[in-house]
Amino acid sequence: MTRRSAAAAAWIVAAVLGAAADAQVPVFRAGVDAVIVDVDVRNGGRPVTGLVAADFELLDNGVAQTVDVRSLKDVPLDVTLLVDASGSVDGRRLDRLKSGVRDTAQWLRADDRWTVIAIEHVLREIVPTQAPRATAAVDALRASGGTALYDGLGAALMQPTTPGRRQLIVAYTDGDDTSSILDPASLLEIALRSNALMDIVVPVENARDQAGSPQSGPMVQQTASLVNRATSAALKTTHAEGGFPNESTLTELTTRTGGRLVVVDYKDSVSTTFKRVLDEYRTSYLLQYTRTGVDASGWHDLAVRVKRPGHLDVRARRGYWGG
C-alpha cells in the first residue's frame, strides 16, 4: 500500500515593503524580512484542517519564528502546466494529456492564472500566462522531437513571480531527458533559489499492479522525502535504473521546492490526476513570518513542526536563499 506522504513547500515572498521591482529576488527593506512558507500537513493521507498559528513551530536557521497562518484557499495561484510532448507521447497518451490540460482550466479559480508549456527538444509556450479559460491552443498540442526535460523544469522554476500570488508548477513527464543543456546538478541548484513549488507527475506502466491499491484514489503517490520502499522496489522492475528515468533527480528536485513526486498509472486519467494535485495543494497552509534573530543573507535551513498529538506528516521545503 502506498501512503500519502507529507511534504511541504516553502515560498519566499520578496515584496512586503517597498514594492520590490524584482519580484524574484527577496528584497528586504526597512528591516522587514518577510518569508512565506507553505506547509502541507497530513494524517494518514488526509489533510489536517483547522490548524492555527499556535499549532506550528518554525525554525529559521535554528531560531524560532513567530508565524501567521493563512490557507492556500485564499491565495490566487499562478499554475504552470509543464507537459512532455516529445515524439514518444502520441496517440491515446497525447489525447489524454490534451484532455487533462483542457480540463485544468475549469478547476482553477477566476483570479488564478495558468501557463502551459510543452517540452520537446525546445520549449513551446502553448498558453502564455493568462486567466484560466479554455483555449484552442491546447488542441494544437502535438508530439514531436526529443525531450529537453531538465531545460523545461529549469525554465519553469526560473519564471518571474508576482508578489501576493503562489506559484505552482505541475510537470507531467515519463522522466526521460533527451536533449537538455542543463544538467541535473544545475537544475537542483536552481530549485533551491526558486520561489515556486513543483509537483512532478510520472506515469508508469502498471503502476497500480506493482504498487498495490493506492489509499486515496487512482494515484500511486510517493513522497518526495519518504519514498515508500515497497513501491520503489516494485517500480524498479519497469526501468533498469529505477522506477523510471532520472528518478533520484526528480525526487530530489521536488523535495527541494517543497513539492512531491506523484507516480500514476499510464491508464489513469490525466484530468483526474491534475485535479487531485490542485485540490490537495489548496489544502496546504501558508506560514508567514518576519525574520528575526537571523542574518538575511545566505542559505537558511527551515524546520517546520506541528504541535499536535499523533503522527502527522508535515511537508515543507528544507530551506531557502535569503538575499
Binding site: 529549469g154 525554465a155 526560473m158 536552481i190
Partner: protein, 351 residues
C-alpha cells in the same frame, strides 16, 4: 518490358516516372520525394533501371578499385545518366531517412556502390560522397558511418570531412541514446560496446581521435570544439578551456558559437560564473535567442542570485523558442546540418 513497383503511397507515380521527372526538374521533384514509403521497393526499381543508366561500368567495384590506379583513364560510360541515377537515389534516401532509416541507408549504399564504380572519381562523385557522408552522420549510427567512410576513403583518401567523420563516429558511440533514432538503437548499442568498453573509455577514444586532427589545418577549429565537448563530458574542464583557447580567432561561425557555448559550460563547472556568463553572451551574439546559450546563461545567472535577469531571459525565450536558431541541436549529427546545401551541390550535376 520493365515492370516497376509503385513505391509511393496510394496510386502515386512509379519510381521510373519520378526519376524521369527528377532528371528534368531535380529541385522541384526532390521536394516531392518524402512521400515514398517503400524505399527498398524503390531501390529494386532502380536496380532494374540501372542497366540503362550505368552501361559500361565495371561489374565489381572492389576489383576495379584495387586494380585501376586513380589517375587512370575514365571508364567510358554515359556519365550523365549515372549522375542522374545516383543523385536521385541519394535525394530519395535523404527525403525519407527520418521515417525509414535502415532502408534509406541501404539506398545510400546502393548509390555509393555505383559512385565507386566510376573511376577516376570526379567532382560530381566528390560532391555526392560529401552529401552521403552528411546524411549518414545525421543518422548517429557509428557502425554505418564507419562502413561508409571506408568507401569514401577508397575514392578520396585525403578528404578532410572523412577524417573528421571517423572521429565523429567514435564520439557518436558515446552519444546519449536519446540522440539515436529508434531504428538505430540496437545497432548503436552494439557499436558502442562490442568489447564492453566503458563510456569513459569510449570518450577517451573519441578525444584521442579529435586530438589527432588538431594538426590538420582545415579541421583544427571543429576538432577543437568537439574535443572540448568530450573533455567536458569527462569532467576535464581545465583541459577543455585550454583546448578552446583560440576559439575567438575562428572564422567559422558554427565553430565559434559552439566554442563559446562549451567554454561557458566549462567555466560554469569550474565555479567561474561571471566568465561563464560572458561566454554564453558571446554565443548569443552569434545565435540570438538560441535555446542552449539562453538556458545556460539564465541558469548561471539564477544560481548566482541574479534571478531577475534570468527570469527575463526565460520570459523572452518561452514564446519564441525555435530549434532552427540553435545549431547545438545538430552537434551529434555532424555535417547533417549541411545536408540541404550539400545535396543541392550534387544536384547541380543533374540535367
Amino acid at each position: 518490358m520493365l515492370c516497376f513497383v509503385a513505391a509511393l503511397r496510394g496510386s502515386g507515380p512509379s519510381t521510373a516516372d519520378l526519376l524521369a521527372r527528377y532528371i528534368q526538374h531535380p529541385d522541384e521533384v526532390a521536394a516531392e520525394l518524402g512521400s515514398v514509403v517503400d524505399l527498398d521497393g524503390a531501390r529494386s526499381d532502380l536496380d532494374r533501371l540501372a542497366p540503362k543508366f550505368l552501361a559500361g561500368l565495371p561489374a565489381k567495384v572492389d576489383s576495379v578499385i584495387s586494380s585501376v590506379p586513380p589517375a587512370g583513364p575514365a571508364v567510358s560510360i554515359p556519365e550523365q545518366r549515372r549522375r542522374d541515377l545516383v543523385a536521385f537515389a541519394l535525394d530519395l534516401a535523404g527525403a525519407n531517412v527520418a521515417w525509414h532509416a535502415p532502408a534509406a541507408r541501404r539506398l545510400v549504399e546502393w548509390g555509393c556502390y555505383n559512385v565507386r564504380r566510376h573511376l577516376p572519381p570526379n567532382e560530381f562523385d566528390h560532391r555526392w560522397q560529401l552529401a552521403a557522408l552528411a546524411l549518414l552522420e545525421g543518422e548517429v549510427d557509428p557502425d554505418a558511418l564507419r562502413e561508409h567512410l571506408g568507401h569514401v576513403d577508397a575514392q578520396f583518401p585525403a578528404e578532410p570531412r572523412a577524417l573528421l567523420g571517423r572521429a565523429l563516429a567514435d564520439e557518436q558511440a558515446t552519444a546519449p541514446l536519446e540522440f539515436v533514432s529508434e531504428a538505430n538503437l540496437a545497432t548503436v548499442n552494439r557499436a558502442r560496446n562490442p568489447t564492453g568498453a566503458s563510456q569513459a573509455a569510449l570518450m577517451a577514444r573519441a578525444a584521442a581521435s579529435y586530438r589527432a586532427l588538431l594538426s590538420v589545418e582545415p579541421l583544427r577549429g571543429e576538432a577543437s570544439v568537439r574535443l572540448a565537448h568530450v573533455q567536458i563530458a569527462l569532467g576535464q574542464y581545465d583541459q577543455a578551456l585550454a583546448t578552446l583557447a583560440t576559439v575567438d580567432q575562428e572564422s567559422d561561425g558554427f565553430v565559434r558559437y559552439l566554442g563559446y557555448l562549451f567554454r561557458g559550460l566549462a567555466l560554469d563547472h569550474l565555479g567561474r560564473p561571471s566568465e561563464a556568463q560572458a561566454a554564453f553572451r558571446a554565443a548569443l551574439e552569434l545565435g540570438p535567442n538560441a535555446h542552449a546559450p539562453t538556458m545556460a546563461l539564465a541558469s548561471s545567472l539564477f544560481r548566482s542570485g541574479q534571478t531577475s535577469e534570468a527570469s527575463r531571459l526565460i520570459t523572452n525565450l518561452l514564446p519564441n523558442d525555435d530549434q532552427t536558431r540553435d545549431v547545438w541541436w545538430s552537434y551529434w549529427a555532424g555535417d547533417f546540418q549541411q545536408w540541404g546545401l550539400l545535396i543541392r551541390r550534387a544536384r547541380e550535376f543533374v540535367k
